[in-house]
Symmetry: C2
Subunit: 489 residues, 2 copies
């Protein structure tokens, strides 16, 4: 062990290997609700791909687990350290290597954050449009979870914007995939295979992403409806209209009131409307000119009125962006309100009404309070589950997720499986698919050192003190810890 | 062997197993230039997923190669039969299972063609926008090669539109991946892994694709330039402008004249302009209203004039669509002109000027005539190579492709590797990536029965009469055969 630390110090320099109590609490967790923090054997901060190669060579030789961590804003536990392993954190690999305006791509190190990238892109009239809520999230982490967010209804998710990767395999081999081009038919798409693999196949050391012209004009429209069913019914109509909204969210009345009041935001909705409204749509439109934007807003308004909206409020620009920021903070509002878990199942968009009705029934049956909001445009529903009893909570969540699978959906739309949803995933996913995934994992990482115990649940070589799935489930009973700001949602 | 045929007949019915001379010549080839036709041991026409399962079980048990075939419009030889194997053709599995307007998806069998799908979508105001030139191409084949085409600059390629697959593994296991949703973070993305795998990992039996509102208004703009360098320089400017063209093609003067004259198309370009023009841009814009379209055309015209265009011709609607159809027929024009091969390397968009200059030098050095055109908006350049001597041609092509790799590109943008580009791919691709691909192939198809000898070059169990890479290279010396219409390009 001291041998390992010595090797690691040689690889990255003494000051970039931290062990024992010297590891700051921020590195012992991500933003997953109810997960137990863990101190790693060693926190290692590489400064280059070559250093990552050296670290992985050491780890692989000795069979030491390696957990990769970006900004620690994940919600599935994929970046929580293991006590007998290395936590590979990319704080130092946070450089934007290139913004190539000719090819409209950016090449970044994995520790670069979304806000950092967009700050550099904005003066060039460009944007990286994937926006998983937390702007301090890293691009490397986004690749790991295939991060989505509110703009996915228009722009897709991380996998639609990553054109190429540099990644290091468990044995230290450097792999380069894809490049500055959007199309290729030259072998299996390893870029796409690595995206969403939650650090279990390789460690990302460089990301090439597509960027695009930044829309110049935008409007935020808030739309109260008397019933949730009307809201969810309206969604496919809006998508089919060709208006192509950038954001298409729903929030039940309780959620909207929580996020506005916690942000001290008065949207000027009359009391009578607020009393009548059970659920809201939040729609953001973007355009390349104010004239086109006005047309689209008008078109949307007419459509929404025909779909039963109580009214249609085009928010003043400042209030509009405040509302979106407040919506992005919803995770923290839900957390502060005492939620014990958050589920982000994805289902076919048109199945949402029936799905939410069933969720509501299940919540009553299980005597548990469940709040709802979500990226309704792309079928990704986020549910806050308020049930401190782990056994009861898991029983309800299993039913909620099974209902999603039965409706043709999947366990997670964007948060990922990690450790937090591992039990559900292993139980609900097609066994043939799981068997293939495990065998692919074996191809990339024969010794199983990368992300053991997450996504596929392969146990690490030495599991002595690693938190198990049931530990994580029990975590809710522990006192809530202070966390670093930010969470992907 | 007679045992195998008997089993196959039992699985799909006597009339759906054809052997020996009874196999029609159409099934012995795809559209690859210079590739030798092959008669399979048996042509088998399954009518259902269950029948595909039975066929693969038999084949896997006996180690018999299986080649999957859609419409046979491929250009890389991936669908050419092997003489000791089964050709699995999807002529009977050509049903559109569902057009789900609520979720904006279509669910189709693999033999459904692009024209068939779009005929059903059009009355609903919907479109499946991937358009690899040949509308008789099948969706199953499109999944195999990750088909692209002229509209990829705006809409992306097949992998950006396929949401889910049903596929049968070599051992007969039925795998379902993805679903009617655009985002998921629930394990490795097996959908994306299968797309572009050219029938070497599994046999696709159902495809779920995203469809979208059909634009109502379009304009085709033809733009002559005095130099090719000006054309290629203009491309990144157009992409950066935010005009978002649906098609952005270039054609050198020779190619444009070939396609217009072979189509009997007079675009009314004055002789003086034709004499001065060395290369053309073809731009198609689409919009949701004629007013917006007019604005975009105006904006584009102003931009192009500032970029040195000799003139800007907005074609009358009929001439515009005739030109696009003529461009789609370019493969046949090039073939009829005696081209011996077509290369479709992809490179970063901004590297095109230097790349084409280098190709031109290489062509002269090798004493070979090379024509050019391509999907310049997405960096996918198509080169017609006129050199009947296989050895000389391969030497030149190797250099042309190596130049693409050195410029940060890949061997094929959309045609695929198949058998035709296999030698180049194995020589030029990163050995670590190839090793991973081969190991993944081993996971899905341990006996190597699916598509042996293509993409990764794994030899089939019994290679006795299968055409080898060098046979294919010699194929150009054989007399050209009549072919069925259609080729993906």
């Amino acid at each position: 062990m001291s041998d390992l630390l010595e090797q690691l110090r040689k690889a990255v320099g003494d000051s970039n290997v931290v062990a024992g109590d010297a590891v700051h609490a921020d590195y012992t967790h991500d933003e997953t609700l109810g997960a137990a923090p863990q101190t790693p054997l060693a926190l290692v901060l590489p400064g280059s791909t070559d250093e990552v190669v050296e670290i992985l060579r050491c780890a692989n030789e000795q069979g030491v687990p390696v957990i990769a961590r970006g900004s620690g804003t994940g919600l599935s536990g994929a970046a929580i350290p293991v006590s007998d392993g290395i936590l590979l954190a990319f704080d130092r690999m946070n450089h934007i290597r290139e913004i190539d305006t000719e090819n409209q791509v950016a090449v970044v190190e994995p520790g670069v954050t979304l806000e950092q990238l967009n700050e550099q892109l904005a003066p060039l009239g460009l944007i990286y449009p994937v926006s998983p809520g937390e702007q301090t999230a890293s691009l490397g982490g986004n690749v790991g979870t295939n991060a989505g967010g509110m703009r996915a209804v228009r722009y897709g998710v991380t996998r639609h914007h990553v054109l190429g990767l540099e990644a290091v395999l468990a044995d230290g081999t450097v792999l380069r995939t894809g490049g500055k081009f959007v199309k290729s038919s030259s072998g299996y798409d390893l870029t796409q295979l690595l995206i969403g693999s939650e650090g279990t196949l390789a460690v990302t050391t460089e990301v090439t992403v597509k960027v695009q012209p930044r829309p110049t004009d935008s409007a935020t429209v808030l739309v109260p409806f008397a019933t949730l069913a009307e809201v969810t019914h309206a969604v496919p109509r809006i998508v089919a209209s060709g208006i192509d909204p950038t954001i298409l969210e729903y929030a039940d009345a309780l959620v909207l009131s929580s996020i506005t009041s916690s942000a001290g935001l008065d949207l000027g909705i009359p009391d009578s409307v607020q009393e009548a409204a059970r659920a809201y749509l939040i729609v953001v439109l973007e355009q390349t000119s104010s004239a086109r934007l006005d047309e689209d807003v008008e078109h949307l308004g007419t459509l929404l009125e025909s779909l039963g909206a109580i009214d249609v409020y085009v928010l003043p620009p400042h209030a509009g962006s405040d509302l979106i920021v407040a919506r992005e903070r919803l995770f923290f509002v839900t957390k502060a309100a005492g939620a014990d878990d958050i589920i982000d199942a994805v289902i076919p968009r048109a199945a949402i009404p029936e799905y939410l009705a069933r969720v509501s029934e299940l919540a009553s049956e299980h005597g548990t309070f469940v709040t709802g909001c979500g990226h309704v445009g792309d079928g990704n529903v986020h549910l806050g589950v308020f049930q401190p009893d782990a056994e009861k909570r898991i029983a309800l969540e299993r039913e909620i997720l099974r209902t999603a699978i039965d409706a043709g959906g999947a366990v997670s739309g964007e948060h990922g499986i990690g450790t937090a949803k591992l039990g559900f995933f292993l139980e609900l996913e097609d066994p043939s698919a799981l068997a293939l995934m495990r065998a692919i994992k074996g191809v990339f990482d024969p010794k199983g050192i990368l992300g053991p115990g997450r996504l596929l649940g392969d146990p690490p070589a030495s599991t002595a003190t690693r938190p198990t799935q049931s530990d994580a489930a029990d975590g809710a009973d522990r006192s809530k810890r202070a966390t670093t700001p930010g969470a992907t949602r």
